[in-house]
Assembly symmetry: C2
Amino acid sequence: MENRVINAAILGAGTVGGGVYKLAQAMEEDIFHKTGARLVIKKMLVRNVNKERKGIPSEILTDDWNSIINDPEIDIIVELMGGITPAKKYVIEALNAGKQVVTANKDLLAEYGEEVMSAAEKSGNDLQFEAAVAGAIPIIRPLKQSMAGNHITEVMGIVNGTTNYILTKMTEKGMDYADALAEATELGYAEADPTADVEGYDAGRKIAIMASIAFNSRVTFSQVYTEGITKISADDIRYAKEFGYVIKLLGVARNVDGQIEVKVHPMLIDENHPLATVKDAFNAVFVHGDAMDDAMFMGRGAGEMPTASAVMGDIIDVMRDIVCDCCGRIGCSCYKKLYVKKIEETKSKFFLRIKAKDKTGVLANIASVLGNNDVSIAQVVQKRRNSGVAELVIITDEVEEKNFNDAMAIFEGMSVISEIAGVIRVH
Amino acid sequence: MENRVINAAILGAGTVGGGVYKLAQAMEEDIFHKTGARLVIKKMLVRNVNKERKGIPSEILTDDWNSIINDPEIDIIVELMGGITPAKKYVIEALNAGKQVVTANKDLLAEYGEEVMSAAEKSGNDLQFEAAVAGAIPIIRPLKQSMAGNHITEVMGIVNGTTNYILTKMTEKGMDYADALAEATELGYAEADPTADVEGYDAGRKIAIMASIAFNSRVTFSQVYTEGITKISADDIRYAKEFGYVIKLLGVARNVDGQIEVKVHPMLIDENHPLATVKDAFNAVFVHGDAMDDAMFMGRGAGEMPTASAVMGDIIDVMRDIVCDCCGRIGCSCYKKLYVKKIEETKSKFFLRIKAKDKTGVLANIASVLGNNDVSIAQVVQKRRNSGVAELVIITDEVEEKNFNDAMAIFEGMSVISEIAGVIRVH
C-alpha cells in the first residue's frame, strides 16, 4: 500500500487543467494520507505540445489521445476540455476502457447525461462531476448523498457569476445593462461573446443537471425554459426595490406533485431571502427537502483554483474508490421518469411594468383585462411620468402562465398602452 | 440483489429516533433505488418498552442491548441516545462486533473522537456522523470529500440555534438577554437548563469536531475556549450596529501557520458578511480553503425531521458501502498532530465598551494604557451619558489577547473607570 500509485491523465491544459495540476503537486502528501495512494498526473492532452505551459513539465504533454486511452497504467481520466466534441467520445471511450472519469463538462452532462451515465453504469466505473455545477460549491455530492434521505421539492440557484455580477452592479450603482455588461467584459467576468451567460443557457445546463439528481429523473437542457437578463432595465430594478425585492437570474427546478418544472429566468426575490445577499461573481444554490426544510450552499462558481478544488475533491473520491475496489459505487440516480412541464403549464407570480396614456379609466381598463384572464393583482403602484404617460407597476398573485400570456396579448393590441416595459417573474 | 435487506437498529426512540423511523417508511422505495437494498428498522432500543410511541410498532421496541448487539442480522447501529454513557460503550461494542455505526452524538465525538474513530478504523467499519454538527446541513461529508483538495484555513459557524434565536431577537426587537431567553424558552428553542447552549458548550463540541476534520488533526472539546452570550447587552448590540456590525455567537477554528486556534465566543461581524444574514434558529458554516476560497452552508441546525434527514443520508451512504463491500472506505482523517493554541496565544480585534467619569483627560488616560500595552485603536466613539458618566466605545486593531488582558487588568484598578461594560471580539 505504501507505494501504491494512481495515475491520472488530464484532458485539456487550460485554466482549470493547470489549476488541477498545481493542486496535485501542492496536495501531494495530503492526497496520500487521505486515500492511501499517490496521485501522479502522468499525461495532459493538449492541441499544441510545443506551447509552453507555466508550471507544467513539457514531457507530460501529448496531443495523442490513443497514447492515453491505451495506457493501462492510467486509471483516471480528468476531462476538462469542455464542449461536446471530442469530449463525449473521449469520456465514453475512457469508461468503456475501464477508466474512471472526472469531468467538469456541464454541456456534456446536460445534453448527453443519459448516454455518458449509462456508459459508466455498464462499465461499473466512476463518473464524477462536482465541478460541472457551481464551481467550488459542493452540490452534486450533497444532493446524491447527504440529502438522499429527503424528497427534494425545490432547487433554486444563482449559478452564473457573469449575470450575477452584472445584476449586482445594476442594483448597487444604478447602471444600465449595457454599461454593466461592458464593465464585466473589461474585468474578465464576461466573455467576448457573452450569449451563453446573459441568455441563461449556461445556467440552464446547470439547473438541468441539478434537477436530474434532485428529482431522480433525467432532465436535459432542451427541456429547460431559458430567458436571459438582456431586457432588464435599471427602472425594473428600482421599482423592484420599492416593493422590497432584488432581481436575480435564477435557475429554478421544482417537483410539483410528481411533475418537474425547470427554468432559468430573471426573478424578483424578497430582499431578505438568503439568495438576495449573494453578490458579484458568487454562486449559491438553495434546496428545499421535505425532511431537511431549507438549505443554501454558497461559494465561488468559477475561476481557476475554485473549480480545480472541486475537480480535485472528485479525483480524491475516485482514488478512494479505486483503493477500496468499489468504483461505480454511486451511479446514475435517475430511477424515475417524471414528466417535465412546458413553461405554459406552470404557474408564476409576475412583476409587470406598463407605460400607458395618462387618462381616466386606464387602470380600470388594465385591471379588467387581467381579471378577465384570471390574473389577480397583489400590489399595484401608479406613477405619473412626463408628457401624459402613466407608469403602472403591478405584482400579480400566482397565475397560470398561459392566462398571463393571454392578458399580455390583449395589452399588445390596446391603444391606451404604449409599452409593456417589463415582465419579470416573482418568487 | 432484488431482495437484499439491510437491517438497522436505532438506539433511542426520542424526537430524532422517531423521525428516522418515519423517514425509513416514507423513503422506502427511494432507499431501495438509491442503494440496491431494502432498509428495515428491526429494533429500537428504549428504556421503557411499555411507553407508547406514536407511529412506531411496539414489537420492534426493546430494552435489551444484548438482543441487538448479538443479532447477526443487524448490520447498522444508529445511535441517537446522546451523552457519553452508555452511548460510547454501545458504539464501540457495535464497531467491534462488525456493525456499521451512524451517530448524531456530538458529545461523544468531541470528547472521545479518537477512541471511537480508532475502533472504527481497527474493525474496518463505517462510523458516520453528519447529524452531529449543524443538523441538516451537509458539512462533515463536504469537508471530508468535496473540499478534500484544499488546505482549509478557516471554519467559522453559527452552530447553535438557541443562541442565534436569542441574539436575533435582541437585535431585531432591542430585547434584553433575559427577556429574549425567556421567549426562547417559552417557544421551545431553549431548554429548561439552557447552560450548554448559552455558555457555548454545545457550539464548542461542534467546532471541535469540524476543526478535527478540516485541519486533519484531532481537536477535543477540552481544547476549545468557550465564552457564552450571557453578558451581551442590548447596548452592545446597539453600538455594534452603529459601527456596521452584528453580534453572533460563533465557533471559530483557524489553521494559522500550522497551529490551530479553536474557540467559541460572541463576535461582531460585518453586517454584510454572509453569516450576518443567518437568523433565528438557522445554522450556517463558513469555510475558507486555499483553492476554493470562501464557501458557506446554511440550513436547519436542529429539529426532528432536519436532523433525521442528516441521519438518513448517512444510513443510505452506509448501505451503499455494505452493498459495494467497501465499509470503512473513509475513516479517521486526523493524520496530522498540530498544536492547539491557548486563547492567550491568539490574536483578536476587540470591541470594548467602558463607562468612565466624564472629566478632562479620561480618553487620553485610556488611550495611553492601551497604547502602552500594544493595543492599537481602530475606531472610537465617546458619548456623554447622564450624571457625569462618559461612555467610550472602542474597536481595536488585531492585538495579542495577552496584551489586551494586561490593559484590562490596569483598567480594573483605575478610579476614573467605573465599569468595563462590554468586551467582545471582532471579526
